[in-house]
Subunit: 347 residues, 2 copies
């Protein structure tokens, strides 16, 4: 890649061409779909040059050398996150994050190894001043035809109250800027609504949130997520990640159940076929492809982590989301806003 | 109640007539349905005599004085668990648990205040020797047309590894005896399958489970619950309770979504109507009424806690489950089995 060829007036999004279960195919296809649709940004495909050209040739896509940042190592889905970063410094996940760090890209998206992508982003892009822990924020569909966001869904476990307050601040700004929800209502996930419930840390977190200046509405329970009681639900990454993976399994579970029902005879098969339409439309908000990926918030640059099984549509939406975050100047806004709220010192 | 009138050859199940959002109606109706269906046990309705007779008269049920244990206090759904037990010693939740303790009943079921019922059961019935913490075990439907059980779903938060091992032992015996699953596969809920993932306590728990003699299959993730990868999923009560409440909200969420779809026009309304059948049948295992309530395992007697919104059918099934647990001699079996597994001392 020749840096002189990059127009700095343009937004530049780097895509991990080697990331995901169906890489490089889905990654290259999705990235090119975003590029062809929008055109007003520079696309950087990070990965093995010959593999990228193979996909391009097979699918008749106009990829040229200026769009490729060649890397010869690949972090596999099963690799240990920290170990692989050291062992494979010339992998797409390391090189992509470094492009953001060095100002050569305005955002990096990857559907590769989630752990490696998190660690590489935090280590290479770095955190915004005052942010102890970045957070992964995920949209859950809700009954109000919108989303309930959950933060953290797996960047970190064993969060302290001040970390949870940090997640709330970071995600609030994201939701407000990207989803247009002004002053989002924030709930703290707990096993009951009464004051004495939960872990000792829960009460402490609740007090921090209550004094933060954020729109904190108190404890909410598991049943409130789909109801949309809060716009943002704050919790430790351990439970957030388990909830996310459980929620993602609802649609496959329903499909298996309906298929089983359909095997019960001719009329059941017909009914199940008709049921597919309403179900699909009712559950369209649960389709992660529409949101593309999950932003890792709190970093000094844009990093979006996608599902391992990301389709080209999911990759495309990740790229467009990264571009939107850049155009809305989200990192700068997070930086400014992070000082607005009273954040205690992390011990 | 005259104790001389109780036939001790019979099983005696006490029901909290004042427990639940629709008490005494649903509690008395459900208990009487179980009684009329089976007849081979003694039913004890614990609560306000006149209220119980009112429901009986209105519904033409043959209730007599021998079936009533009068109590004049009621613990409300919003009362503080520990506070209310002290303040209301003559409440149905306290008296019912004491009946079990004193051998006057072989089991107690209540759809009342979950916290008060837990604390009253632990305090009044007492724990089996060696059991540091009892556990609430809940069945989740799975793709294999059976159930994945989760333990603990909310009896206690902040569990130590040895507590989690205890939950695994208690729930294994319950699943084996009541659901006929021999040597149930046990998974430990975590954010990934790799060894280094999760909390420091997770690894320690995994080692305990691995050395316990139980059928431990290792870490499982949120996506494995509906898949039925394990028969029993062990986790802290904090996450278990949030998962249970989240899972219970799936069907109402789908109903709202389908209703919204149906409002989109005539044909959509027809399609949504047809979809209701397959959906209802596909999700019938998610109906908590069929399982009635959740057993509090590890106590020196049978205690089953029901959903606040329990229907008569749910109460009926709770009563029949308590009877089954008694007939299968579950408490004795738990007592014997609890010494079979290598359980470390609780610190």
């Amino acid at each position: 890649m020749d840096n002189n060829n990059i127009s700095h007036s343009h937004c530049r999004i780097a895509v991990d061409a080697m990331g995901g279960d169906y890489a490089p195919d889905n990654a290259v296809l999705g990235a090119m779909q975003a590029y062809v649709q929008s055109r007003d940004f520079d696309l950087l495909l990070v990965g093995r040059k010959e593999a990228i050209y193979n996909v391009a040739t097979l699918n008749n896509l106009s990829v040229n050398d200026d769009m490729i940042v060649h890397t010869d190592e690949v972090i596999e889905m099963g690799d240990s996150p920290t170990g692989s970063l050291k062992k494979k410094p010339n992998s797409s996940i390391v090189v992509g994050a470094k492009l953001v760090k060095e100002g050569k890209a305005d955002g990096f998206v990857s559907a590769g190894n989630t752990g490696a992508m998190s660690v590489s982003s935090v280590f290479n892009i770095g955190r915004i001043k005052g942010v102890a822990r970045p957070t992964l924020t995920a949209p859950f569909p809700n009954e109000k035809e919108g989303y309930t966001f959950i933060s953290d869904v797996g960047a970190f476990v064993d969060s302290k109250p001040s970390h949870l307050l940090g997640y709330a601040i970071l995600s609030s700004i994201f939701i407000e800027e990207i989803y247009g929800i002004k002053n989002p209502k924030i709930g703290l996930l707990n096993v009951g609504e009464e004051k004495g419930k939960g872990y000792p840390l829960t009460l402490e977190t609740s007090e921090l949130l209550g004094n933060s200046g954020l729109n904190y509405i108190g404890y909410i329970e598991g049943k409130d997520i789909f109801k949309g009681t809060a716009d943002l639900v704050v919790c430790d990454g351990f439970i957030g990640n388990i909830l996310l993976k459980f929620a993602e399994s609802i649609v496959p579970f329903l499909k298996t159940k309906i298929k089983h029902y359909a095997s019960g005879g001719f009329f059941k098969k017909i009914k199940a076929g008709i049921a597919a339409g309403p179900l699909r439309e009712s559950l369209k908000n649960t389709n992660y492809e529409l949101q593309g990926g999950l932003p890792l918030l709190g970093l000094n640059g844009i990093s979006i982590i996608g599902h391992g099984s990301s389709t080209p549509l999911a990759i495309k939406n990740m790229v467009l989301r990264a571009k939107e975050m850049h155009e809305k100047n989200l990192i700068k806004k997070i930086e400014e806003s992070f000082t607005r709220y009273s954040l205690p010192k992390i011990n």
